[in-house]
């Protein structure tokens, strides 16, 4: 396990996002600590993806500040911006692979952009990254259009990890995957986190993912955020949070997570 320090690696303060008359975030605060896996959940349209895009600088908020690695993302010079971009990786929802390049070349893009690297080494790095994210040998030569959705996500993750970033941002990493593939993806992220010491900021709808790998969960409700461990949130009285975690799906995920203790499992035989 990487050491979890108390110093936040991402700090969002008093964030306001507004589109037209629609206020999405209103005074939102959030801190993400080094080495943790933070899951961000919320109803559709509650601004999860907007939050992610704001933190990585793709969306300019109306007000507030966003600090990553101690730099204010909203008022940053080009050189610092590039330095920061070297240290994060982003996995977009459908992988966002460059369709005219092979998977290996996709992984090579950030390496080529930031480091003057011999082609051979770049190919080697791409090859083992393909292995690390659990893609079968030979995937590197394929084009994104030849891959399934799950493989595209893994390839996108491989590209996000190309520079060995400290933070990875994942936008719904398990959406659209079958439960087995989604489960494997969870395991993959957990393994990578522990071996590479990643900080993971993950937008997700997947309750199983939340229960399986997230250290803390941030819930977007009422244009603000409530952060806590799962145990804390399970006890939260907010109606949306209640129905989210205590609805049938939440109970099912909770149940499957508690299968470590077989006695409890025996008692909780499918009340659904």
């Amino acid at each position: 396990m990487p050491d979890q320090s108390d110093e936040p690696i991402i700090r969002v303060r008093n964030l306001v996002n507004r589109f037209g008359n629609e206020t999405v975030h209103d005074g939102l605060d959030l801190e993400v600590f080094r080495g943790e896996v933070l899951g961000v959940v919320g109803a559709s349209g509650s601004g999860k993806s907007v939050l992610l895009r704001t933190i990585i600088g793709l969306n300019r908020p109306v007000a507030g500040s966003v600090e990553v690695f101690g730099h204010n993302i909203l008022a940053i010079g080009d050189a610092d911006q590039r330095e920061i971009e070297k240290h994060w990786g982003v996995l977009f929802q459908d992988g966002a692979l460059f369709s005219s390049l092979t998977v290996a070349e996709n992984i090579g893009v950030p390496l080529k952009e930031y480091y003057d690297m011999p082609l051979r080494l770049m190919d080697e790095i791409a090859a083992f990254k393909v292995g690390i994210v659990g893609l079968p040998e030979g995937t590197g030569e394929k084009y994104p259009s030849q891959l399934s959705g799950g493989m595209r996500k893994r390839s996108g993750l491989a590209r996000a990890l190309a520079l060995d970033p400290e933070i990875v941002f994942l936008d719904e990493p398990t959406a659209g995957l079958d439960p087995i593939a989604a489960g494997e993806f969870d395991v993959l992220i957990r393994d990578l986190r522990s071996s590479l010491g990643l900080t993971v900021f993950m937008v997700t709808h997947d309750l199983d993912t939340l229960f399986a790998i997230c250290d803390r969960v941030a819930v977007l409700v009422d244009k603000k955020i409530r952060v806590g461990t799962l145990e804390q949130l399970l006890r939260d009285n907010h109606p949306w949070i209640q129905s989210y975690f205590h609805g049938p799906r939440g109970r099912a995920a909770l149940l499957s997570e508690s299968q470590h203790s077989p006695k409890q499992e025996a008692r909780l035989t499918a009340p659904l």
């Binding site: 369709s99 005219s100 690297m117 011999p118 083992f128 990254k129 040998e137 060995d164 393994d191 522990s194």
Partner: protein, 378 residues
């Protein structure tokens, strides 16, 4: 990248080669380390120790370089031992080790970079053209059959959609078509008058401008503008719908994509292209007349008299051609849209292709008409 410092020191004692790695073995130093590691010249059949005690920071790129060195040295018959790795780096090394020694992916290189491949490519393209022509003909057949079926149930024809297409392809194209043909009329009259004056025939400028605009340029320019403007839009619209699986969704609901998407576009264009041609002709002749008046002092009555000396057939030939061009543009635009598969990239590629093909076919058909009408001696 200058901030990353990693070192590698080679030393030898008692027949034991020691490679001491130290510093920050991170991706930023990888290129430099790679060069030095490849330059290493360790003799065969020796005992080699990789001393990793000095490594402060390590990432997967650094881990890969260490493992590759171990692997390469072993492959050359050395006995390699990694020593003093910090326990906190072990999971990382394991992670990279399990990812394994996969041979790097080859970069797909176009086959036509060899002589044989080049010749094969010519054959491939030629056969591809034939297959494509066949396929387009097939699509034209489907279109005709659908149109015939619709003729028996005319109420199924979606008038709203046709009118919307006419607005898109016709009304919205009016300014650009008018402006361009007006300018072409001006240019022809101006240039033509110059040359004709040389022979003392400048009074024929009106006939020259009138005949070239009415017979050829009006309709040709309009068709080319529409191929670029609307043919490309057809391909992009239908192609995007294919990428979104909207076409498949239509089929499952029982809607015929050809009937819903193609026919309104086809009918719309067949109706608007002649109208636009009419407008283009007017603007072209107007531009020519304006020039004749300002440069040669030809007034309105004389202009009209001169214009009427060119046979009315000149006008009709232009108008007759326009619906044929419309069919070609709509056909190619929609056909290429249906060829889109999988990625967004293919939408772009096929859109370009559709414009090029449509303009090519329009000019070929125009040449065909030229031969046809001259055989009829019109």
């Amino acid at each position: 990248m200058a901030s990353v410092t990693a070192t590698l020191v080679e030393s030898e004692e008692l027949g034991l080669v020691i490679l001491a790695a130290a510093g920050e073995w991170l991706v930023g130093a990888a290129a430099d380390l790679d060069r030095r590691l490849r330059a290493l010249d360790v003799p065969k059949d020796r005992r080699v120790t990789l001393d990793l005690a000095g490594i402060d920071r390590l990432d997967t790129a650094g881990a890969w370089l260490l493992l590759r060195t171990e692997h390469d040295l072993t492959a050359r018959g050395n006995t390699v031992e990694m020593r003093n790795l910090r326990p906190s780096f072990e999971p990382l090394i394991d992670q990279v080790r399990t990812a394994g020694f996969v041979p790097p992916a080859r970069h797909p290189r176009p086959a036509h970079h060899t002589v044989a491949g080049f010749i094969a490519r010519i054959g491939e393209i030629s056969l591809g053209l034939v297959a494509r022509a066949y396929s387009i003909l097939g699509f034209f057949g489907v279109l005709c059959l659908t149109a015939l079926r619709l003729a028996r149930h005319p109420r199924r024809l979606n008038m709203t959609s046709i009118v919307a297409q006419m607005e898109q392809t016709g009304v919205n194209a009016l300014p650009i078509v008018s402006l361009l043909t007006f300018l072409i009329g001006v240019v022809i009259a101006y240039q033509g008058a110059d040359y004709l004056r040389f022979y003392g025939l400048e009074s024929y400028t009106v006939q020259l401008t009138g005949a070239s605009i009415l017979r050829e340029l009006g309709v040709l320019l309009t068709a080319i503008i529409l191929a670029g403007r609307s043919g490309s839009a057809f391909t992009a619209q239908i192609g995007t719908m294919r990428v979104n699986e909207e076409i498949d969704a239509m089929r499952t609901i029982g809607l015929d994509p050809v009937e819903v998407l193609v026919l309104p576009r086809l009918f719309g264009l067949v109706l608007t292209l002649p109208m636009l041609t009419l407008c283009a002709n007017f603007m072209g002749v107007f531009g020519g007349g304006l020039m004749a008046w300002s440069q040669l002092g030809i007034g309105i009555p004389q202009f009209l008299t001169q214009l009427s000396t060119i046979a009315p057939w000149s006008f009709w030939i232009g108008m007759i051609k326009s619906p044929f061009f419309a069919v070609v543009i709509a056909l190619i635009g929609c056909y290429e849209g249906f060829q889109v598969s999988g990625s967004a990239e293919s939408v772009g590629r096929l859109t370009t292709l559709s414009v090029v093909e449509a303009i090519f076919l329009v000019i070929v058909i125009d040449a065909g008409f030229s031969i046809f009408f001259s055989a009829l001696q019109i």
